[in-house]
C-alpha cells in the first residue's frame, strides 16, 4: 500500500478539528443561552466573543453584541471562518478532497449535515430556537463521530483524524472552563454557584460523572481539576493529550514513521504545562493565565504535527 499523500493527512487532521469545533461552539452557545434564562437582562454575549478573542473581529462587521448578532456570527456567518457554517463547509470541503480515503457513510452524513446547515435562516437561530438548533448541530457532529468510529479504516489517516479531533477538543474544553471561571469570585466556595456549575458540567456531558466522583458537594477547584485532569472523562484535557500521544506512538510503531524531534518536544512541553501549570492555589486570574499557556502549547503541537508529517516533502 502506498503511503498517505501528505496533503490528505493535513486535510483529514483538519476534518477532525472542524467537526469537533462545530460541536464545541454549539455547546458554548447553548450554555450561554441557558445561563441567562433567569436573568432579566438576558445573556451577556460579549463573554462568548471574549472566550475566542473575537471581539475585534466581530466589531468590524457587526454592531451591538446581542443574541441575534452573536448567534449569527457563530452559527450562520460564512464570512466568519470559525462559525459553525464555515467549519462544516470546510469539513465537507476537506472530506471531499479525501473522499476516497474515508467511508461513504462518513461522506454521506457530512454532506447531509452540510445541506441541513445551509437551510438554516436567521429565524431558526433566534433566541427561543437557539437551544434546539444547537442540540441538532451537536447531534449531527456526534453522529459523524460515531460513523467515523465504526467505519473509518484504522490506517495512518485515522491517526491524523484522531489527533486533529483531540487537539481541538482539548482546546475547547479549556475555553469552556474559562467561561465557567469567569462567573465566580471564590474558587473554594461550594454552595452559591451550584446551578452555574451544573449547567457547565451538563454542557460537556460531564454532570453525572462528576457527581458520582463528588457526591458530597464540590468546589470550583474540583470542577477545574475534573475538566483538566480526569483520566476517564472523555473531554478532559489530560485524556485528550494522552490520546494524541498514543496516536503519535501508533505512527511510529504501527505505521513505520520515524520520530520527529520537534513534534516530540512540543508534546512534552504540553504535558509538562498541563501537569505543573495550575499550581496549588487556584485563583480566577491564575486559571486564565494557565489556560492561555495550555492553548499556546496545544497550538504548538498542532503546528509541529503539520510541519513534521503533513506539510513537508
Amino acid at each position: 500500500m502506498a503511503s498517505l499523500v501528505a496533503r490528505f493527512g493535513w486535510n483529514i487532521f483538519w476534518l477532525g478539528r472542524y467537526v469537533e469545533r462545530a460541536e464545541a461552539l454549539a455547546r458554548i452557545l447553548d450554555i450561554n443561552e441557558t445561563y441567562a434564562r433567569d436573568k432579566p437582562e438576558g445573556p451577556d454575549w460579549l463573554r462568548v466573543l471574549d472566550l475566542y478573542s473575537d471581539t475585534k473581529r466581530f466589531k468590524k462587521t457587526n454592531g451591538v453584541a446581542d443574541a441575534a448578532s452573536v448567534s449569527n456570527f457563530y452559527v450562520l456567518d460564512t464570512n466568519n471562518f470559525t462559525s459553525i457554517a464555515s467549519s462544516i463547509a470546510a469539513a465537507r470541503g476537506n472530506a471531499r478532497s479525501v473522499r476516497h480515503l474515508i467511508s461513504t457513510e462518513m461522506w454521506t452524513h457530512l454532506n447531509m449535515f452540510h445541506n441541513q446547515i445551509g437551510k438554516l435562516t436567521q429565524n431558526d437561530i433566534r433566541l427561543s430556537n437557539l437551544s434546539r438548533v444547537c442540540t441538532d448541530i451537536k447531534f449531527d457532529c456526534q453522529s459523524f463521530e460515531g460513523i467515523a468510529e465504526g467505519t473509518f479504516f484504522r490506517g495512518e489517516a485515522w491517526c491524523f483524524y484522531q489527533m486533529g479531533k483531540y487537539l481541538e477538543r482539548a482546546d475547547q474544553t479549556t475555553r469552556i472552563l474559562d467561561m465557567g471561571y469567569d462567573r465566580i469570585t471564590d474558587v473554594e466556595d461550594d454552595g452559591r454557584d451550584s446551578i452555574h456549575w451544573s449547567v457547565l458540567l451538563r454542557s460537556v456531558a460531564g454532570y453525572h460523572a462528576f457527581r458520582s466522583l463528588h457526591p458530597a458537594g464540590s468546589s470550583a477547584r474540583d470542577i477545574a481539576s475534573f475538566l483538566l485532569y480526569d483520566q476517564e472523562f472523555p473531554r478532559a484535557v489530560a485524556l485528550c493529550v494522552d490520546q494524541i500521544s498514543n496516536r503519535l506512538q501508533d505512527l511510529e510503531k504501527r505505521h513505520d514513521h520515524s520520530r520527529h524531534a520537534r513534534v516530540e518536544e512540543a508534546r512534552r512541553s504540553l504535558a509538562f504545562t498541563l501537569e505543573t501549570g495550575l499550581g496549588q492555589r487556584v485563583t480566577s486570574r491564575r486559571l486564565h493565565k494557565f489556560i492561555d499557556d495550555l492553548q499556546i502549547a496545544l497550538g504548538d503541537v498542532s503546528a509541529e504535527i503539520g510541519k513534521g508529517y503533513l506539510l513537508s516533502g
Partner: protein
C-alpha cells in the same frame, strides 16, 4: 368478487360503504391502478424497450414494469433521487456559474441490451481501439498512412491536438488509448452507429457503476430472474491494465490518479476511480519530478510513482513542456515520461485520433491497419475542409447536423431542421470563414427509451458510451453509460446540456 362489490357500492353508497370499508379497506378500489406505461407512445423511433413491435429480450422486464402502479414508481424514483442528493453525486456545469454542484438526473427505467447487441458492440469497440492505437503509433513514427494516401497528412499533423513532442516515442505495449469511450447511437432501424470516439480522458464510467447500485437498491425486484452482466469488475480491470503498462522492470508499480482537483466537473468520478482501484488520488501539487523520476509527497517523504492515470488534458500536464501557465500540472513530467520512467494513461497526443475531422476517416483507417470492415459503421460524415463536403453541407444546412471539430460536450452543435433562420445564416458565415473547423452529418433518428417524466412514462432519445480498457489486451465493460436527453424531443444528451442517465443492462 371485487367487481361485484364495486358495482354494489356505486349503486348504494352510505351505510354499506362504511361497513365494507372497515372490514377490508383494500377492496374499496379494486380497479387496477393506472400503469405509467399505459399511455406510452414511441412515435416513429426505434425504442430500446419495445423495438418496432415488441423486443423478445425485454419481455420479462416489461412485465415487471407494467405490473407496477404510478405511485410506486414515483415513490421509488424519489427515493433514488434523494439517495443521489445525500451522496453528493454531482457534477459541475460550466455554463451555470451559480450551480457548482448539480445532480445528474437518474432515470429509473433501465436500458436493456440483448446478448446479440452486446456481441456486436464488444467486437466493434475492440476493433476500433486496436485501429486507434495502430494509427497513433504510425502518425507519431513513420506516417505510412500519409504516404499511402489514406488520410491527408496536413489534417493530422496540422491538427491542434497533434503533439510533435511525441514523435519517435513508443509507449509500453504500444498502447496509447488505455481508456476509451466510444459514443454509439441507434438509428430508426435499430442499427448501431459510431457517433464519436473519446480517446483523451473519457468520463462517465462512475455513473455506469453507481447507477447499477442505485437501481438495485430502488428496484431490487425488477431484475428478478433477469441475467444481467456484472459491472463491478471495472476497478480491478483498470488496475490490471495500468500495471500491464508500467515501465519495464517495475513489478509492483505505484499507480496513481491525477486529478485537476475538487473543482473539476468530474471530480466525483476521480474519487470513485481511486476508491475502486485502491490507489491514491493526487493533484499536481502532490507530485514532484527529480532527475526525470516522478515522486509523490507523502507523510514519509517522497515515494516514486510509476503509472499515472491522468484526468488532466495534455495542455495542462506539464508547464515546462506545454502550457506554461498551467497550475494543475507537474513541471518535468513530460521529460520523465519520454525517458520511460513513468507511464501516462492515456498517452500524450491521443486527442488527434478522436478529433471529429479524423473520425470521418475511421472506416478507412480500420481497413488500412486491420484489413477488416468496420463492425460498427460511422454516421455518414461530410468533411467541410474538402470542397465536396463543404458544398454538400452548405446546400443542405437545414437538413444536416453541423459540428465544430474542436469542441466537446455538445457545444456549438447546430441541428439544421430545428435551427432558426438566423442561427443557420450565422452558421453559414462561420462555415465559409473557417470550413476546416466543421463536419456535418445527416440527422440520425436516435432511438428512444421509456423515461419517467413527472408521473408518466415518455419516450426520450438516448445514446450509449461503452468503456474499453487496454493494457496488453482490450476489455470492454459490459454495459456503458446510457445518456438521456431529458427534454422532450431533444437530441442532446450531454450531461453539461441537461442530459440524464440510465442504468444499462446487458443480458448474459
Amino acid at each position: 368478487m371485487f367487481v361485484i362489490l364495486v358495482v354494489y357500492l356505486s349503486l348504494k353508497p352510505s351505510a354499506r360503504y362504511l361497513r365494507i370499508r372497515m372490514t377490508n379497506n383494500r377492496t374499496t378500489n379494486p380497479a387496477k391502478p393506472a400503469n405509467p406505461f399505459d399511455a406510452y407512445d414511441q412515435g416513429e423511433y426505434f425504442c430500446e424497450m419495445f423495438g418496432r413491435n415488441g423486443l423478445s429480450h425485454t419481455r420479462r422486464i416489461r412485465e415487471q414494469l407494467t405490473s407496477m402502479d404510478s405511485a410506486t414508481f414515483r415513490r421509488r424514483s424519489k427515493d433514488a433521487e434523494r439517495e443521489l442528493f445525500n451522496l453528493g453525486i454531482t457534477f459541475t456545469v460550466y455554463t451555470d456559474r451559480d450551480a457548482i454542484d448539480r445532480i445528474l438526473p437518474f432515470d429509473v427505467i433501465p436500458r436493456v441490451l440483448s446478448r446479440k447487441d452486446w456481441r456486436t458492440i464488444d467486437a466493434g469497440v475492440k476493433q476500433r481501439v486496436a485501429a486507434l492505437n495502430l494509427f497513433l503509433h504510425d502518425i507519431y513514427h513513420d506516417g505510412k498512412i500519409f504516404k499511402d494516401g489514406i488520410i491527408p497528412e496536413a489534417l493530422v499533423r496540422g491538427n491542434k491536438n497533434y503533439r510533435p513532442e511525441m514523435e519517435g516515442f513508443s509507449p509500453p505495449q504500444g498502447t496509447y488509448v488505455h481508456i476509451c469511450g466510444t459514443d454509439l447511437v441507434r438509428d430508426e432501424k435499430g442499427r448501431f452507429r459510431v457517433l464519436e470516439d473519446n480517446a483523451r480522458t473519457p468520463s462517465g464510467v462512475s455513473y455506469v457503476i453507481e447507477n447499477r447500485h442505485l437501481m438495485m437498491r430502488a428496484f431490487p425486484d425488477l431484475a428478478d430472474g433477469v441475467p444481467i452482466m456484472d459491472v463491478d469488475d471495472y476497478g480491478r480491470r483498470l488496475m490490471r491494465a495500468m500495471s500491464a503498462v508500467a515501465p519495464a522492470g517495475v513489478s509492483d508499480p505505484n499507480v496513481v490518479i491525477l486529478s485537476p482537483g475538487v473543482f473539476n466537473s468530474a471530480y466525483f468520478e476521480h474519487v470513485f476511480l481511486a476508491r475502486e482501484m485502491g490507489g491514491p488520488l493526487v493533484e499536481g501539487q502532490d507530485l514532484v519530478v527529480e532527475q526525470d523520476k516522478v515522486y509523490m509527497r507523502t507523510t514519509r517523504g517522497l515515494e516514486q510513482v510509476h503509472v499515472i492515470y491522468r484526468r488532466i488534458d495534455d495542455e495542462f500536464l506539464d508547464p515546462t513542456a506545454f502550457n506554461a501557465k498551467s497550475m494543475l500540472g507537474v513541471p518535468g513530467l513530460f521529460e520523465a515520461y519520454r525517458k520511460g520512467n513513468v507511464t501516462l494513461a492515456n498517452a500524450v497526443g491521443t486527442g488527434v485520433a478522436d478529433d471529429k475531422a479524423v473520425y470521418a476517416y475511421m472506416p478507412r483507417i480500420i481497413r488500412y491497419y486491420l484489413d477488416e470492415d468496420a463492425i460498427i459503421e460511422n454516421v455518414p460524415t461530410n468533411i467541410c475542409r474538402e470542397a465536396e463536403g463543404l458544398s454538400k453541407t452548405l446546400d443542405n444546412l437545414d437538413q444536416l447536423v453541423t459540428k465544430p471539430v474542436g469542441e466537446s460536450g455538445g457545444y456549438g452543435v447546430v441541428i439544421g431542421p430545428r435551427a432558426s433562420k438566423r442561427a443557420l445564416s450565422q452558421l453559414r458565415a462561420k462555415l465559409k470563414a473557417d470550413p476546416n473547423n466543421f463536419i456535418s452529418q445527416p440527422l440520425v433518428s436516435l432511438s428512444v427509451s421509456p423515461t419517467l417524466i413527472g408521473g408518466a412514462v415518455e419516450p426520450r432519445h438516448v445514446d450509449l458510451r461503452p468503456f474499453a480498457l487496454t493494457g496488453d489486451s482490450t476489455w470492454v465493460l459490459p454495459g456503458g453509460l446510457t445518456r438521456v436527453a431529458m427534454k422532450r424531443g431533444s437530441l442532446i444528451v450531454n450531461s453539461s446540456q441537461g442530459g440524464g442517465s440510465k442504468d444499462t443492462w446487458v443480458l448474459g
